[in-house]
């Protein structure tokens, strides 16, 4: 088996330009690897036109690093003509008639979409186990979860099936699986990347981001994804920048905060120790690191639950069997059709969140829960802003421990949320944050560092990350 896909994409690009390989070679290699690693269950749908697309890609553009590079797309991002299921029975026959804005951008760059990756149903979960198609497996230890909800994308990159993937992050869904599988995953600032074509879960939090093997590839892919989109009013207009520009720069004098909460007793010793090792290294490099107090971080999970479930209960109302997707066989009234379609089409976790979300918005509850959650969310944002007056970055662990065994959370759904206790505060404040591998535990399971930046300061995250990547 050829090993082109294991090369840095700059090297792959060189080979393409020199005509030593073709995009079809890369696609065939990826398809072969996917077939060999079928048990990982990383993909829900393979793009059966991808070989044809690779053959008709045209002349290689020496200025386009991504020409002919295979990429995997999380299955909640719509792709024209390519089934998009959100890992749900209710959409398992859904073929979109339009492309998400990020997919348009990827196609403009002549990248090749290999397929759609597995995930938690409608991105609801942090292990990818709520998928209608079964959980993907962690390539580093197949008895462990990949994390979620972008678990399929993480498995595809960590399993070396593709060099690049897209994930989405509402409450840690890029960073959590990146952490458990030892890859680089970035959640950009809310508004940085268009959400048009991302099937909504928690609209005010959802954000698409790159999941890659290296920091450079991550920043390069982000270069392509960003930009204000007239189809998404929550996307933000920012001057064009190159996110790779600070990569490799000296971190001397960089001011970094480490909140006490992130190294409190909720974090396992092996994770904490590893993070503290990185801290010592960074100090040696001349970074200024302070351990600080931050309020409200422990409220974030509760706030997250209230906001996402409320928004999800409304966002998922459109899956009713009327216009697209699954519709129940026999129903003799519209109301029965709705009820049967939705109870047969949605999995348990989704139904639970819709019910709780509906309750949260019901009558006076909207004021008691939802409005109050929005207020506390503002407080969390203010708290981050306060810290960022004195610091360039905030760091900590991504999760409290390494990837758990599959089926760990079956009996305790609340515990699954607590898995995201360290990543969720970032979504509340809309900030950019990354999971970058900093080694493994004694059993070879990856541990990641969480790097949180100021709003729209992804470049600073890449600067620190590239420095860490060189050593860990």
């Amino acid at each position: 088996m050829s090993k082109y896909l294991d090369l840095d994409i700059r090297k792959i690009h060189e080979l393409l330009v020199e005509k030593k390989i073709t995009p079809l070679d890369l696609v065939d290699e990826a398809l072969e690897r996917i077939e060999d690693a079928k048990e990982l269950n990383a993909f829900i749908t393979i793009n059966d036109k991808v070989r044809e697309e690779a053959s008709t890609l045209g002349e290689v553009d020496p200025n386009n690093l991504f020409f002919g590079i295979p990429i995997a797309i999380k299955d909640n991002i719509v792709t024209k003509g390519l089934r998009t299921t959100c890992a749900s029975h209710i959409l398992d026959n859904f073929i979109p008639i339009y492309d998400a804005t990020v997919v348009e951008k990827i196609k403009d760059k002549k990248m090749l979409i290999i397929g759609k990756t597995n995930m938690d149903e409608f991105a609801m979960g942090s292990t990818s186990e709520t998928s209608y198609f079964g959980a993907p497996l962690n390539p580093l230890d197949k008895t462990k979860v990949t994390g979620g909800s972008s678990g399929g994308s993480a498995a595809a990159v960590a399993g070396k099936l593709v060099p690049l993937a897209l994930g989405s992050d509402t409450g840690g869904s890029i960073r959590n699986p990146s952490n458990y599988t030892g890859i680089v995953g970035l959640k950009p600032t809310y508004g940085r990347v268009s959400r048009y074509g991302l099937v909504a879960y928690g609209s005010s939090l959802d954000q698409i981001g790159p999941m890659t093997r290296t920091v450079y590839e991550n920043a390069s892919l982000l270069n392509i994804l960003v930009g204000e989109d007239e189809k998404d009013l929550t996307s933000v207009n920012k001057t064009k920048e190159d996110f790779t520009r600070l990569i490799g720069e000296d971190i001397k004098g960089l001011r970094i905060a480490l909140p006490k909460y992130f190294i409190s007793d909720i974090v396992t010793k092996e994770v904490k120790d590893r993070v503290m090792e990185v801290v010592s290294y960074l100090k040696e490099q001349g970074a200024l690191i302070d351990i600080i107090d931050m309020s409200y971080l422990d409220t974030a999970v509760t706030i997250y639950q209230v906001i996402t479930m409320a928004e999800a209960s409304s966002n998922l109302a459109r899956f009713d069997g009327v216009r697209y997707g699954y519709r129940t066989e026999d129903a003799n009234s519209v109301d029965i059709m709705y009820a049967k379609t939705r109870s047969e089409g949605f999995g348990n976790e989704v139904k639970k969140r819709i019910m709780i979300g509906s309750y949260i918005l019901s009558g006076e509850n909207a004021k008691t829960y939802y409005d109050k959650a929005l207020m506390i969310r503002d407080d969390i944002t203010k708290e981050f802003n306060r810290v960022f007056k004195d610091y360039d970055l905030i760091i900590g662990p991504v999760a409290t421990r390494v990837a758990p065994l599959l089926d760990t959370f079956n009996d305790d759904p609340h515990k699954a949320f607590m898995d995201d206790v360290l990543v969720i505060p970032v979504n509340m404040a809309g900030l950019p944050a990354m999971s970058i591998p900093i080694g493994t535990n004694s059993k070879g399971l990856p541990i990641g560092l969480h790097i949180i930046g100021k709003a729209f300061d992804e470049a600073m995250i890449y600067k620190l990350a590239s420095n860490i990547e060189e050593v860990f």
Binding site: Y98, Y196, V199, A200, T234, E311, A317, R318, L361, A366
Partner: protein
């Protein structure tokens, strides 16, 4: 028996005129083939997001202004969640907490008494699909899905059907003249839903809502019917239930549609896909610039020009003639004569041929020269009647037409003198009347002169000569 006091409020929905829909770029038109003005946003496809059509926000600002409302400077949209097949997302995007206008009024006059009908609020929202039921099958037309609506809600300050009709007539006239809506109740672009309760004291009685009323006249009938029905019920010691009824035109009765279930729970929350809108002074003023003169302003203006109130009302009732007449004001001419012409010969021509004035060749210059000729006596009213088809249909000037039709009023003194002598001889009684001071006799004699001359003499000259002869 002491009498009950009725309390009536009205909700009006009008479709806003605009090129495209409220949250998508699909055309906002009426009467297109089913499901042709539709895109993925209107269909509520997964991943789609709303964009806000600024043109419609401007229409909202104009409406708030002309209905004397306070304009809400910082506003957002809300989601109203409910399942219904004609509701593509199963939530409607509307304005719940921050309606664009509040605390306005419309002034009406009933039986010579003026009254302000107070407006509680007006807000912008999207329309649903149109559904049609064929036996067991329901069909949906998405052309209407996402069409912009303004909902205008009065305070419960209307006392009877007559007031309601006066309010709706005035509202329709204002919205139509301001180019907000074409307000066609028969096409559904204006929908009125009165709610009626009666009570003997200050506490409001139980409210009954009437829907599907097809004309303003029927709103009046429905309200008066409902007041009587409720009085009879209360007199018979029956209990009025909160319910929705419809008006049956043929029977002249309201008929029960459904009893309201307790507390409709729409689970409102702020639409997270649309950021808050801040309306600046500049945007507001700019929106108001293009407001045309409204009916009450026109009434004032026309009455200063010397038009009678009958003429004014007739003119305002005919929008195209009114707009044409407004253009004529750029020219110096006899406006009273102009309106007479517009409302008589020109209107008959237009009605006969089913045309509007802008379809004809009647330029302002041509109309001004007709009026000049009428004033100088070079053209008689009969001449106008004879020439009207050619005046409207050809681009020939009045002078050319006069030549073509050999219209030259005889101003030959001796010819006129002969006729006058003959008329004076044959009408000695009238001549005596005139001499003893009855002015009306002069009109009669003049009529006889014109009759004798078969309308072919210059009327002004003939009138001068007749007076001279009589006064000898």
């Amino acid at each position: 028996m002491s009498s009950y006091v009725p309390t009536i409020g009205i909700e009006v929905h009008v479709e806003i005129k605009s090129n495209s829909k409220l949250f998508s770029s699909s055309a906002n038109t009426y009467g297109m083939a089913t499901n042709t003005a539709v895109n993925v946003i209107d269909l509520g496809y997964p991943g789609t997001l709303p964009t806000v059509n600024k043109e419609i926000i401007r229409q909202g600002i104009r409406t708030a202004h002309i209905l004397n409302c306070d304009i809400t400077r910082k506003m957002h949209f809300d989601r109203k969640n409910y399942f219904y097949p004609d509701n593509p997302k199963n939530y409607q995007i509307t304005q719940n907490r921050t309606p664009i206008g509040r605390n306005g009024y419309v002034e009406i006059e009933v039986d010579g008494v003026r009254k302000k009908i107070e407006i509680e609020e007006l807000h912008i929202e999207e329309d649903t699909c149109k559904s049609a039921h064929r036996g067991n099958v329901s069909l949906l037309d998405f052309n209407r899905a996402g069409v912009p609506l303004i909902e205008i809600v009065t305070k419960p300050c209307i006392k009877n059907g007559k007031e309601a009709m006066a309010y709706l007539t005035k509202l329709k006239e204002i919205l139509f003249y301001a180019n907000i809506s074409d307000c066609k109740m028969e096409e559904g672009s204006m929908r009125c839903e009165p709610n009626i309760s009666i009570s003997k004291d200050d506490n409001f009685g139980t409210k009954v809502e009437v829907k599907n009323v097809s004309s303003i006249h029927n709103v009046g009938l429905a309200i008066d019917y409902e007041i009587n029905r409720q009085e009879e019920m209360l007199n018979n010691k029956e209990t009025i239930k909160e319910e929705t009824r419809r008006f049956d035109e043929k029977k002249g009765k309201t008929i029960l549609m459904r009893v309201k279930e307790t507390g409709n729970d729409y689970r409102y929350f702020i639409e997270p896909d649309i950021p808050y809108l801040e309306l600046t002074d500049e945007f507001i003023n700019d929106s108001l610039k293009s407001l045309p003169l409204l009916p009450d302003e026109l009434r004032e203006k026309y009455s200063k020009l010397g038009l009678s109130s009958l003429q004014i009302e007739k003119l305002i009732n005919n929008r195209s003639l009114n707009d044409y007449f407004l253009g004529l004001l750029e020219f110096k001419t006899n406006y009273v004569m102009a309106v007479n012409l517009l409302l008589s010969d020109i209107s008959s021509y237009l009605n006969k041929h089913n045309k509007v004035i802008t379809d004809t060749n009647l330029s302002y210059e041509k109309l001004v020269s007709i009026i000049d000729n009428l004033e100088s006596g070079d053209l008689s009213n009969k001449n106008v009647k004879d020439l009207i088809d050619s005046l409207m249909e050809t681009d020939k000037s009045l002078d050319e037409l006069k030549k073509e039709f050999k219209i030259e009023n005889i101003t030959d003194d001796s010819f006129i003198k002969d006729i006058i002598t003959k008329v004076i001889e044959n009408n000695s009684e009238s001549v005596n009347d005139y001499k003893s001071g009855h002015d009306r006799a002069l009109k009669y004699l003049m009529g006889q002169v014109m009759k004798e001359a078969k309308g072919s003499v210059n009327p002004k000259k003939a009138s001068d000569m007749l007076r001279e002869a009589l006064n000898k």
